[in-house]
């Protein structure tokens, strides 16, 4: 292969990888805020828990390509570009984070919760001092699943013009160019592995403290 072509491709891979990281980081960040927040609220209000888990579950069953497609024609929130893709990735990441937050807090031992309340903790103190620290490993596991899945799903964001490594893969598929497909797929796989390893490190750190 011509070295200039290779250089251009390499340049493109780097840019698209950064694009990809932005998509994933922003959407995962928002999904964590929403998922953990709604999850905590869900442990206080059973009705909210049922409704939110139901919505997140339905969202998760929609094929990701279709979800991107659905959002396209919607005014304001939809359309071509990054913001639509990020919204879509947020919706897609919610379920594991939401569910693990609820499960993690619900699995705090009854006597522990009883004692905390009986000793005079307010609801906020119960949450901050007892429930969140004890649920942290479970919540982190949920975030880890969401993050790794998200890196894969973000590839599809390319079809609605949001950029990312999917650009190379879709172009490679369209032009039957294996080199281009690999140039998109390999960095995406590496990103996923790195994210997984990073989260596992974080989980171990949390378990030690």
């Amino acid at each position: 292969m011509d070295p200039t072509v290779l250089k251009i491709l390499l340049h493109e891979v780097i840019n698209l990888t950064l694009d990809h990281i932005v998509l994933v980081a922003v959407s995962c960040g928002c999904a964590v805020l929403i998922g953990v927040g709604v999850g905590i609220a869900g442990t206080r209000h059973p009705h909210m828990r049922r409704v939110s888990v139901a919505i997140a579950s339905v969202l998760q069953t929609i094929p990701s390509l279709a979800l991107f497609g659905f959002l396209l024609p919607i005014p304001l929130i939809g359309g071509i570009g990054k913001h639509t893709a990020i919204l879509c990735l947020i919706l897609y990441s919610l379920l594991p984070i939401l569910r693990n937050t609820i499960v993690g807090i619900a699995s705090v031992d009854r006597p522990v919760r009883e004692a905390a309340v009986a000793m005079g903790m307010t609801d906020r103190q119960l949450l901050r001092l007892v429930e969140l620290p004890l649920a942290a490993p479970t919540i982190l596991a949920g975030i880890r699943i969401a993050l790794v899945t998200n890196i894969g799903t973000a590839v599809i964001a390319a079809v609605i013009g949001a950029g990312g490594l999917g650009v190379l893969i879709f172009r490679g598929v369209a032009s039957v160019n294996t080199m281009e497909i690999l140039a998109g797929a390999i960095p995406a796989a590496i990103l996923a592995l790195l994210a997984d390893a990073g989260m596992s490190l974080l989980e171990r750190k949390m378990a030690q403290s």
């Binding site: 004692a115 000793m119 005079g120 903790m121 004890l134």
Partner: protein, 219 residues
């Protein structure tokens, strides 16, 4: 005062009413002459020592942090929290340098129990609630804990409400025994009079004692 009754007779419910984990559907509860329904439940709970069933120690905290829970909620400075926790561990017969830094899962049942008692005493409460605290312990440890309870009660001179379904325990530590039957107070007597009670629940508890023991106590 000891609350004695079978499972489901309302012993734990009575304790939970006292620290407003539950609110009564009727009637009122007074502590030192003040109706507690007018008090802030959070403040009330912090001023009452409570030893719950199954200990309820915070698994992610050290023993010392567990004991200092209420001082911490009351915003004592870290040094005072620590000093108080160490003092309490000594009082309940635990070695503060060895046990203090440990986590609850590293303790035996008896040690956990002592930590739970130390935690309840942390801010020298005006009232102590004990919910079957010694039920899960072996007989020898239970006896030790009962003796310790008596000496701590003396030392702190604090009113306590103690729930049990063990008649011998009730007779050992009570100044008054309240017999509960399905949410009703069946009898309220000093231990010396308990053996002569004729009410149904009191009788069925007395029948659990070995014959010889009962007769010798009565005569």
């Amino acid at each position: 005062m000891v609350l004695l009754g079978q499972s489901g007779s309302g012993k734990t419910t009575a304790l939970r009413l006292i620290n407003r984990m539950l609110d009564p559907t009727g009637g009122s509860i007074c502590i030192e002459g003040r109706d507690i329904s007018g008090l802030d439940p959070i403040e009330l709970r912090r001023s009452i020592g409570y030893v719950i069933q199954d200990f309820g120690l915070m698994p992610h905290w050290t023993v010392e942090q567990n004991v200092a829970l209420v001082p911490r909620l009351r915003c004592w400075d870290a040094g005072s929290q620590r000093r108080r926790a160490q003092e309490l561990l000594e009082q309940v017969g635990l070695d503060r340098t060895v046990i203090g830094p440990r986590r609850p899962y590293q303790l035996s049942g008896g040690q956990k129990q002592r930590v739970a008692v130390a935690r309840a005493l942390a801010v020298s409460p005006g009232l102590l609630l004990f919910d079957e605290p010694f039920g899960a312990l072996d007989p020898v440890t239970r006896h030790e804990m009962q003796q310790q309870f008596l000496s701590l009660r003396e030392q702190y001179d604090v009113a306590s409400v103690f729930v049990t379904h063990d008649l011998l325990e009730a007779l050992t530590i009570a100044t008054r025994i309240a017999v509960l039957d399905r949410g009703r107070l069946e009898a309220l007597v000093p231990p010396s009079e308990f053996l002569t009670l004729q009410t149904p629940v009191a009788r069925s508890f007395l029948e659990t004692l070995p014959d010889g023991l009962l007769n010798s106590r009565i005569s």
